[in-house]
């Protein structure tokens, strides 16, 4: 029996409550370094759910990554890696859009030392990049009424742009992201808490909201974003 199989057998026993505390700790150590074992646990739960005659409708949903992120923990999920790999191959047009965003973000970051004018400048640069003059306006307006302060603006290599906000009244943080749809397919189901779509003449972008705020606030942000996006589309 390979090491992996031996550990999997222990995970199987753990799922039945048949493992000692010592063995449980060892299994957790193994899962920590081998994300496939975490995936194995997940699949085990699916079959267990089926055997209990419970619904499998929500089995593909996964909030675990979002929960760990919100709590400041992180895991290497092979499913996320696999999706990234598949997504990378998908759409060259998306890649071009992402490149535009990357260029824009590079430019935008030079304005980081001027937080007061930053949103307007970012808006301008994003508008240039995705050829939708009011697109940043949608993001800015999405936080209307929340009294949120923009903290930082970040990008990732896939071209997503993320604005991080702080609610001074509560100290809570959240972020609003703009991503080309091709690179946010995994985001829609795993990463972001809430998403909305912004259609521009150059394609569809995803606006997502996640962070340490309530579901109601996230919904409010997206409703704001949708409202302005819809107005733009008229």
């Amino acid at each position: 029996m390979t090491i992996s199989k031996a550990i999997k057998e222990k995970i199987s026993a753990l799922s039945d409550g048949e493992l000692s505390d010592f063995e449980t700790r060892r299994v957790l150590d193994e899962i920590d370094i081998n994300p496939e074992l975490r995936e194995y646990w997940k699949k085990l739960q699916i079959s267990k759910t089926a055997f209990k005659n419970e619904s499998l409708i929500f089995e593909t949903a996964d909030v675990s990554s979002a929960v760990s992120r919100e709590l400041g923990k992180s895991f290497n999920s092979p499913s996320i890696l696999r999706e990234s790999f598949l997504t990378k191959q998908k759409n060259y047009i998306g890649l071009a859009l992402a490149s535009c965003l990357l260029v824009l973000v590079y430019n935008v970051q030079t304005f980081d030392s001027k937080p007061n004018t930053f949103p307007e400048l970012a808006s301008q640069k994003i508008s240039e990049a995705i050829a939708s003059p009011q697109s940043m306006e949608v993001l800015n307006n999405s936080i209307t009424g929340l009294n949120a302060e923009l903290q930082t603006l970040q990008s990732d290599p896939k071209g997503s742009l993320r604005a991080n906000y702080l609610l001074p009244s509560t100290g809570k943080t959240f972020n609003v992201s703009l991503s080309p749809i091709n690179f946010s397919s995994s985001l829609s189901s795993k990463g972001a808490s809430r998403i909305a779509y912004l259609r521009t003449k150059d394609g569809v972008f995803v606006i997502s909201v996640s962070g340490n705020i309530t579901a109601e606030k996230k919904l409010e942000i997206l409703q704001n974003a949708n409202f302005f996006a819809n107005n733009l589309n008229k």
Binding site: E9, S12, A13, L14, S15, D16, G17, E18, L19, D21, T24, R25, L28, I31, Y40, W41, K42, K43, L44, Q45, I46, S47, K48, T49, A50, F51, K52, E54, S55, L56, I57, F58, E59, T60, A61, V63, S64, V67, S68, L71, K73, F75, S79, R82, E83, L86, T87, K90, N91, I181, N182, S185, S193, R194, I195, T214, A215, E216, K218, L219
Partner: protein, 207 residues
């Protein structure tokens, strides 16, 4: 008569993970999230009738439960505890968003066997996929060798402990553990292929 370890309750199964989580081991808590997330989402869905929102509520419920896990006194099962948190989170959401009229008043039992398929799920494709997956799992179970199938069935359907199964089929506990694992491996392969197929379909649709 030999004292055989009886049926293991869900509460007992989770206990080692819960206690580790209480000591700050997030990995243990993560396994509990993976175990119960679909059920918690299904519970939230009963209230809000929207999948994405249900996921948000489930997410919040797990975050709240981790932050307050020290207050979990192990009198109920971990799932029951998280279930209550999820229900309260969903109710609070509905109240705060002035959607009281959509509140499902009916008793949402903590009974393990409930069927969200019976609710107004507006995605026939998802129901179909779930149904296909269930059929595949049961077909695979049926195709297992008798010893493997018996051990796995006694565990999954009758909830018997390994020790009790060993007594019934008259073999060592270690053999029971191996047989159950072997059966699950076969099923895991089927589940994995099904999930990969759906993932490819999803990506194809997106592009």
């Amino acid at each position: 008569m030999k004292d055989i370890k009886k049926k293991i309750s869900n509460k007992e199964i989770d206990l080692s993970l819960v206690r580790r989580a209480k000591k700050g081991d997030y990995r243990a808590f993560d396994l509990l999230v993976l175990k119960y997330q679909s059920r918690v989402i299904a519970t939230a869905f009963k209230f809000v009738k929207e999948k994405q929102l249900a996921e948000d509520i489930a997410q919040e419920a797990f975050i709240k439960s981790y932050k307050s896990i020290d207050s979990f006194r192990e009198e109920s099962s971990f799932y029951t505890w998280v279930y209550r948190i999820a229900v309260n989170t969903a109710k609070n959401y509905l109240v705060s968003s002035k959607r009281r009229d959509e509140l499902v008043i009916s008793d949402l039992s903590t009974d393990d066997s409930f069927y969200p398929e019976k609710l107004d799920v507006d995605s026939p494709q998802e129901i179909l996929k779930a149904s296909e997956l269930r059929d595949l799992i049961f077909e695979t179970l049926s195709s297992l060798g008798e010893e493997t199938r018996t051990a796995l069935s006694l565990r999954e359907f009758d909830g018997l402990s390994y020790e009790e199964i060993a007594e019934i089929v008259q073999c060592p506990v270690g053999t029971v553990r191996s047989r159950i694992f072997r059966g699950r491996e076969m099923i895991e392969e089927v589940v994995g292929k099904h999930m990969d197929k759906n993932l490819i379909n999803q990506n194809t649709k997106i592009s």
